[in-house]
């Protein structure tokens, strides 16, 4: 497998008037093409900070991020953030619009994605007519529209109730695998991380370092919901749970 991203000695300090907060102390990991990676850690440990640095929303304090052969990164937020004053298609095209005039081929690509993933009847509707799951899919398609190689998912499903979470986790997983993307997901849900990922990175509490990286291997690799029934699932769950509570 080709290595496409390498993060080494990543450090982040936040400065406020009163204090400086050491968020990330020493973060090292690499990502291979087509992998699904999850990052878990105690709340407030700086999981999301890693993603924000990776997509240039904030600056790192020091360290190195190498992105091999011009791979593109796109970010999917916790909140779907669909703009209420634009229709679904325009919402999905917004990332492309930022980059310049939209080519017809790009537009077709997005329309095809919308059709492929159950939003065919909503292309020209406004986001308020979408259900929670549809909104999430729409947000994912907006992220896919710029044809990124790596997707960053920041608690992408945490705003939803448990049942929808499982369902949409399933959807998102399938779409990402279908489109052959690499994904890095931040979550506080251990089960979600294990059931969806090839590797799980466990962070320590703040200032965060990488505590452990687990290769997840199931007896019968399937979709996230089925993976939860795998005998290895609870084994991983226990180990990571212990890791987090040490």
């Amino acid at each position: 497998m080709k290595k496409i991203l390498d993060v080494s000695k990543l450090k982040k300090i936040y400065h406020t008037n009163k204090e400086e907060i050491f968020a990330l102390k020493d973060i090292n990991f690499d990502v291979f093409q087509g992998e699904f990676i999850s990052i878990v850690g105690p709340s407030g440990c700086g999981k999301s900070t890693i993603l924000s640095i990776l997509c240039n929303l904030i600056d790192k304090s020091s360290g190195n991020i190498s992105l091999y052969n011009g791979n593109k990164i796109a970010y999917m937020l916790q909140n779907d953030s669909l703009l209420p004053f634009m229709n679904v298609l325009d919402n999905c095209l917004i990332g492309l619009k930022i980059k310049g005039p939209i080519k017809n081929s790009d537009k077709e690509y997005v329309i095809n994605l919308l059709k492929k993933y159950g939003l065919a009847d909503f292309i020209y509707k406004y986001p308020d007519s979408l259900s929670g799951g549809m909104r999430q899919r729409c947000a994912l398609i907006r992220t896919l529209a710029i044809k990124p190689d790596i997707l960053l998912l920041d608690e992408a499903m945490s705003a939803l109730d448990y049942q929808s979470r499982l369902k949409i986790g399933e959807d998102i997983y399938k779409i990402i695998k279908n489109e052959k993307k690499t994904a890095i997901m931040v979550t506080h849900d251990i089960g979600e991380a294990i059931s969806m990922s090839d590797r799980v990175i466990v962070l320590s509490k703040r200032p965060a370092i990488v505590k452990n990286i687990y290769d997840i291997k199931f007896e019968n690799l399937s979709t996230p919901i089925n993976n939860r029934k795998d005998i290895c699932f609870s084994k991983y769950f226990d180990t990571i749970w212990r890791d987090l509570n040490e």
């Binding site: 997509c55 240039n56 929303l57 796109a74 970010y75 937020l77 909140n79 953030s81 703009l83 209420p84 004053f85 634009m86 917004i94 990332g95 619009k97 930022i98 980059k99 710029i146």
Partner: protein, 259 residues
């Protein structure tokens, strides 16, 4: 379209009736008020020299319109109102945009704007007339002063409280500051801007009338001043009635445009 259930049709009917009832009650109140006023005036219960009466107002209105005086003064007031409304809107939104885009400038000017906004502008009236002359310029300037600071404050506040998630989302695609403004901040603030315009139009009208009262050359405000000086209460009340109609029409127009 007509596949609604019996209950739903009933529900719609009920809403229709409700709206109709509101309208009827409104009309009833104004008719009651006007007829009592007229009745009291005719029976000598109130002194028409001091309180006028609806029929006298209509007569005054008629007299003013056939002599062409009404149109002349109304035109001037409306002209001044339009100019100052557009100027303060454009100026206010532009300055708010500059404030939003450059935090340094906002921090520097924020206290000045706050002080200028709370300063009673009528106190500046005499100064403005000395500096700009007793002319339309002074009146428009005064109206501008009254409305522009509140526009800046309201619009800036709206820009600044745009949903952070939207901004993060678009920034993650690498949007520039201008693109953040164009695709997210401005369109999310359309409603806020329209409600600011609604406040603006009445602020501008206050400014214009105040200016006309002070400058006292032409316009509805001048007519009110003139009327009070020659103790022509009919004229004063007629002018106030006209102002009421102007505000209603302006409000109606902005509502229409905002839809």
């Amino acid at each position: 379209m007509n596949d609604y259930s019996y209950e739903h049709i009933n529900y719609l009917k009920k809403i229709k009736w409700n709206n109709f009832f509101v309208l009827i009650t409104r009309l009833f109140i104004i008719i009651l008020f006007l007829s009592l006023w007229e009745l009291f005036a005719r029976t000598g219960f109130i002194n028409t020299f001091l309180y006028s009466s609806p029929s006298i107002i209509i007569k005054t209105l008629y007299r003013l319109s056939i002599t062409g005086e009404l149109l002349k003064h109304l035109n001037i007031t409306l002209f001044e109102l339009t100019i100052s409304f557009f100027l303060s809107t454009i100026l206010g939104i532009t300055i708010a945009t500059i404030f939003w885009s450059c935090n340094f400038i906002h921090k520097v000017f924020d206290p000045y704007i706050t002080v200028l906004n709370s300063l009673p502008k009528v106190a500046l009236g005499p100064l403005i007339i000395i500096w700009f002359g007793a002319s339309t310029n002074s009146i428009i300037f005064m109206s501008l002063l009254i409305s522009v600071f509140i526009t800046i404050i309201n619009v800036y506040h709206g820009f600044n409280s745009t949903n952070e998630n939207y901004i993060t989302m678009i920034k993650s695609f690498g949007a520039t500051k201008w693109q953040v403004f164009r695709y997210v901040v401005f369109p999310s603030n359309i409603n806020n801007i329209i409600s600011t315009l609604k406040i603006n139009i009445s602020m501008n009208l206050i400014g214009i009338i105040m200016g006309e009262l002070l400058v006292s050359k032409k316009g509805i405000g001048y007519l009110i001043m003139y009327g009070s000086q020659v103790f022509n209460i009919d004229l004063v009340i007629t002018c106030i009635f006209i102002l009421g109609i102007i505000s209603y029409i302006m409000y109606y127009l902005i509502n229409k445009i905002s839809r």
